[in-house]
């Protein structure tokens, strides 16, 4: 027996502090003595650094340290170690950090940055990844072949290709032969920015003993610590990463970015706290961006609409460094069948260096880009064959027993239920309402995603039971707005039979909170959730053992609920959790046991590698989460402007831990997907300079533009998920854009295959169609 808080809309643990503005973020922290950092950035997209003269900057009163790639050019990187802390010998994009200054005020730091003289020798700039792939293209990383990388990333030496992931399943030529029709098309997604409300910020400090402490707006305290440790050849236990509240991450605060600039400055100024908070321009350009992607899709189908074969080439615009991005191209590769079962597949996913900002993780981890292509392609097929778009998805949907792109046999899949439900909720079979002056369209798109991570990405949790019967849950998952604090407290409460209000969840501090790989991959409820279950069960076991001693019975005769440990056979006989928290006190006053600490560790089991030539294996990721969105749009045919009117979203998330938060997460995802669909894109000029590094011309969705959203969850339990729960935080933004594109076709018979679907592009498509 346990609590009953799973499936309840428990109020967010962080709600009050955040709503009142009391919550502290890195930018709010002040220390003494403090220094302020500023970064000198490259004006060239590709150039050789001939010389750097920092002498004038160092002379400026108030300047305490100036660092450059001369001092700090150690390599850093999560999957492919290709980035130096500061630019060294070369710069590879406009904005790359060339030097850092720490000074007593931000103004002095800025003044000093201007005094640094850098001589550059411009090199040919490569902005188009398809150009960059050509054999005679200028090399952006001459030493690619020397870089360290994880075993599942495959750089192509002496080229700009930093990863080539392949799927060879069945026999694609045979599959095309068995097809009645073959469809070929191209789709494009531009670079995007995460746009968290709080920009990246770091305060770093090194004490006299050499201990480095980093206060960090980050998603991954442990990964940041490890990356710093590896780069600086510094003991892990001499680096401490503390993450206060984080004002949104969306992937951009995973791994390490800004930290690698600030820590070197702190190492040069022991005793000082060096603070750097990115301005919005830096936030847009100098952290991670979502990579651009061009997809070439060839699909063979039977006249009944069954997909027989798919050949897919994805060319990713990886940017100047692909230390993290390389793994996105792999994830999109092993998911390249999308939510459908395809017998014969050939996929080539190329991560390509270009002289653009650094590509990296972004909510969806490649799935938004992949499904933009696949879901429109399938829709085109349906329309040409005269098959209903819902029907064609039902025909091809993955089900129990389906074999996915990597040869994994799937089970516990609820996709068809999602499709049927989404269609019903949007009123697929009902006549459309009309808005005067507009044309209404309906569209649908599905998606799938798994948590992309190394096979051994682990989680751990510590649960301390206190004297008053309360508990502290120590974890290193970061609360980036997704509600992890609350969900994990619910899980601990459920297991311990403790009321959720009594559980206090710590903010990460690698010194005291236990290991967590990263807060990414929609994996916290799933992975950390499992560790919390184990920690709570461990504490529960100890409580039962102590109570059993007290009652002279065996632990198996005890149970825990309602903050009590009681005899199952006679619940009147109990100890409160408080009474046992520091151990059992015997009638004679002596103690047994001692303070109770539960510990839990977890790693998904049974994951393995994929064959490098075929991408075939058994299990590429821990689990898959499927979902479907159907939308209704109104198009103004004179201006090309699209209004998103209604959205029905259905996801199979295994088990809903907190309905209110699950719904909120989905709403946020839909709206972010809407931004992707209509507005979001980073625009570069011909020299590689970002033209819109601010919200003036990089538009997000406003509250007034949000659609009506109906949200539903299917619950097909996941075998190893906590209470059956699956990850879904990223998934909810993936199908919005392709569903809208499909609705546009439904409305007007036009297709926009490159994102975003701006009013201008839509109007042009309308005119092109009319003139045909």
């Amino acid at each position: 027996m346990a609590g009953n808080v799973i499936g309840k809309s428990v109020v967010r643990k962080d709600a009050l502090e955040k709503v009142t503005g009391a919550a502290k973020y890195v930018g709010d922290l002040k220390f003494s003595p403090m220094l302020h950092a500023k970064i000198l950035r490259s004006p060239y997209a590709h150039a050789r650094i001939v010389s750097i003269d920092t002498s004038e900057a160092k002379k400026l009163p108030g300047v305490k340290a100036v660092v450059t790639g001369e001092d700090f050019h150690q390599y850093v990187g999560l999957y492919l170690v290709d980035r130096t802390l500061y630019a060294y010998e070369k710069v590879r994009y406009i904005g790359e950090a060339v030097a850092g200054v720490a000074a007593t005020s931000p103004e002095i730091a800025e003044e000093a940055v201007k005094l640094i003289k850098v001589e550059y020798e411009p090199l040919p700039v490569v902005l188009d990844p398809e150009e960059a792939m050509k054999p005679d293209a200028p090399l952006i990383h001459e030493k690619l072949h020397e870089y360290k990388c994880v075993p599942f990333i495959f750089p192509v030496p002496h080229t700009n290709i930093s990863n080539h992931f392949k799927i060879r399943k069945g026999n694609v030529e045979e599959g095309f032969k068995q097809s009645d029709y073959i469809f070929e098309d191209e789709y494009y997604v531009p670079h995007m920015q995460h746009c968290p409300i709080e920009p990246h910020g770091t305060i770093a400090h090194m004490d006299q003993k050499g201990k480095i402490t980093v206060y960090n707006s980050c998603q991954s305290p442990n990964a940041t610590r490890k990356l710093l440790s590896a780069a600086l050849n510094y003991p892990v236990n001499k680096i401490r990463v503390i993450a206060p509240y984080v004002g949104g991450g969306f992937g951009g605060k995973a791994g390490a970015t800004i930290e690698t600039l600030v820590v070197p400055l702190a190492m040069k100024t022991p005793g000082y706290y060096v603070k750097l908070i990115y301005n919005r321009e830096e936030e847009f350009r100098d952290t991670f961006v979502r990579q651009g992607m061009k997809a070439y899709v060839k699909t063979g189908v039977t006249r009944e609409g069954k997909i027989m074969a798919q050949e897919l080439k994805m060319i990713w615009d990886g940017g100047a460094y692909t230390e993290y991005g390389a793994n996105i191209t792999r994830a999109a590769g092993y998911t390249s069948g999308g939510p459908y079962e395809i017998a014969h597949m050939k996929t080539d996913s190329y991560c390509v260096y270009t002289n653009k900002p650094v590509g990296g993780p972004f909510r969806g981890f490649g799935m938004g880009e992949l499904h933009w292509a696949l879901e429109q392609q399938l829709d085109q097929i349906a329309c040409k064959l005269g098959i209903d778009p819902v029907q064609i998805r039902m025909i091809n949907a993955c089900r129990d027993g389906s074999i996915n792109a990597c040869g994994e046999k799937l089970k516990d899949i609820g996709l068809t239920k999602c499709i049927e439900k989404a269609a019903e909720m949007i009123g697929w079979d009902k006549p459309k309402e009309q808005t005067p002056g507009k044309v209404r369209g309906r569209g649908i798109a599905c998606m799938v995603k798994g948590p992309a991570m190394p096979p051994n990405a682990g989680s751990s949790a510590v649960l301390k039971i206190n004297e008053d019967g309360s508990a502290n849950l120590l974890i290193t998952a970061t609360e980036i707005g997704q509600g992890s604090m609350t969900a994990l407290a619910q899980i601990a409460a459920e297991e311990l039979g403790m009321s959720v209000d009594k559980i206090e969840v710590a903010l990460p501090d690698t010194e005291y909170t236990p290991y967590e790989w990263q807060t990414v991959a929609s994996r916290i409820t799933y992975s950390a959730g499992n560790a919390v279950i184990r920690a709570a069960r461990d504490a529960k076991r100890q409580l039962k053992e102590l109570a059993a001693v007290g009652f002279g019975v065996t632990p198996e005769e005890m149970d825990v609920a309602n903050d009590k440990v009681f005899l199952t056979a006679n619940p009147e006989k109990y100890y409160t959790i408080a009474e046992l928290s520091l151990g059992l006190v015997l009638p004679n006053g002596g103690g047994v046991g001692g303070p109770i600490i539960g510990r839990g560790s977890w790693v998904p089991e049974g994951l393995g590698g994929l064959d490098p030539e075929t991408g075939q294996g058994t299990k590429a990721v821990a689990h898959w989460t499927f979902g479907c969105q159907a939308v209704e749009i109104d198009v103004d045919v004179e201006t090309g402007k699209i209004d998103l009117v209604n959205v029905a979203a259905v996801y199979d998330i295994g088990r809903v831990i907190n309905p209110c938060m699950a719904e909120g997460q989905t709403q946020g995802g839909i709206v972010q997907g809407q931004g992707v669909a209509f507005h979001e894109q980073m625009v570069f000029d011909e020299n590689g300079k970002l033209k819109n590094p601010s919200f003036v011309d990089y538009k997000l969705i406003n509250a007034v533009e949000m659609p009506r959203m109906s949200i539903h969850f299917v619950e097909t339990p996941l075998e190893d998920g906590p209470y059956g729960a699956r990850g879904f935080g990223e998934h909810v933004m993936v199908p919005t854009a392709p569903a809208i594109a499909n609705a546009l076709y439904d409305a007007l018979g036009i297709r926009v295959k490159s994102l975003p679907m701006t009013a201008e592009k839509v109007l042009k498509a309308i005119k092109d169609k009319n003139s045909r």
Partner: protein, 284 residues
């Protein structure tokens, strides 16, 4: 931000004196929604910033007998939008002002700031142009400048050294009227216009049209107005009027829209405006 001197003058006379003394080095601060942004971005680095918020004679809305309404340059937009005199007589200005930024921005942003900032896309400008508003400029002396002559180019007004925009006067319209402001932007709120169109009709048959974001300054479409004057508004007439408007604008291509698209939108918005006007003139 760089260091600067902040001055809060006690009255308009002192403000004007400080302006005259400091020339290029000084900037007026009203709501600051343009000024502060540019100072943070280091586009402007004034040595002196003079804050005119709340100065007597610069804020508030008053009626001028037998003429119309005067709006102090430092009046926040939300005050203008909600004011009964504006709602009753010059709703098109309220519509234009309401298109600016967000509610929070409009609580701070002033009418004078929007005009003196002199962006070609200023959302209050087309309405003031069709309303034949007059700018009251205060230097050593006071001068009255018709709004049609107030803008000198992108970011430039006719204000000379030592001059301040004091207020905007709008004459009552002589007959029953209807005004409309249409803004085309990428998002429905907090976005800059790619095209703004104000159309005003006065019974029996006068029509005025002004546009923003399609020329170096906000412009009146005088040729189209002359063509429309006294004519019955038919589909054919609208078509010709739209063509004339196109001759009077010179839109550019920028990150928000191409020239071609701007022209498409100009046509759509002018047409839509004129169809609304047609209904009004026909008494529908």
């Amino acid at each position: 931000m760089h260091q600067f001197m902040y001055v809060k003058p006690k009255d308009i006379t002192e403000a004007v004196r400080i302006l005259a003394e400091n020339g290029e080095k000084v900037r007026v601060l009203a709501g600051g929604t343009d000024l502060i942004v540019r100072m943070v971005d280091k586009i402007w680095k004034p040595e002196v910033v003079i804050d005119i918020k709340g100065l007597t004679g610069l804020s508030g809305i008053r009626e001028i007998d037998n003429y119309g309404v005067a709006i102090g340059a430092a009046t926040p937009l939300n005050e203008i939008i909600g004011h009964p005199l504006i709602q009753q007589h010059f709703a098109v200005l309220a519509e234009g002002a309401h298109e600016i930024g967000s509610c929070q921005i409009r609580n701070r942003a002033t009418l004078g700031g929007n005009l003196c900032n002199a962006s070609p896309l200023a959302d209050t400008a087309p309405a003031l142009l069709v309303l034949d508003a007059v700018a009251v400029v205060q230097g050593e002396e006071e001068r009255l400048i018709p709004m049609t002559e107030f803008f000198a180019g992108p970011g430039k007004t006719i204000l000379a050294r030592g001059e301040l925009l004091k207020e905007i006067r709008i004459p009552y319209l002589p007959t029953e009227s209807k005004g409309i402001y249409y803004k085309h932007a990428r998002t429905k709120a907090v976005d800059l216009a790619s095209v703004g169109v104000a159309v005003l009709a006065l019974k029996p048959g006068e029509i005025r049209i002004a546009l923003g974001a399609v020329a170096p300054t906000p412009v009146r479409a005088k040729k189209a107005e002359a063509f429309l004057s006294g004519k019955e508004i038919t589909t054919g007439v609208i078509k010709e009027a739209v063509a004339l408007v196109q001759e009077e604008v010179s839109p550019i291509t920028d990150i928000r829209a191409t020239e071609e698209y701007r022209r498409e939108i100009i046509a759509v918005l002018v047409r839509r405006g004129l169809y609304e006007i047609q209904k009004f003139l026909r008494g529908e």
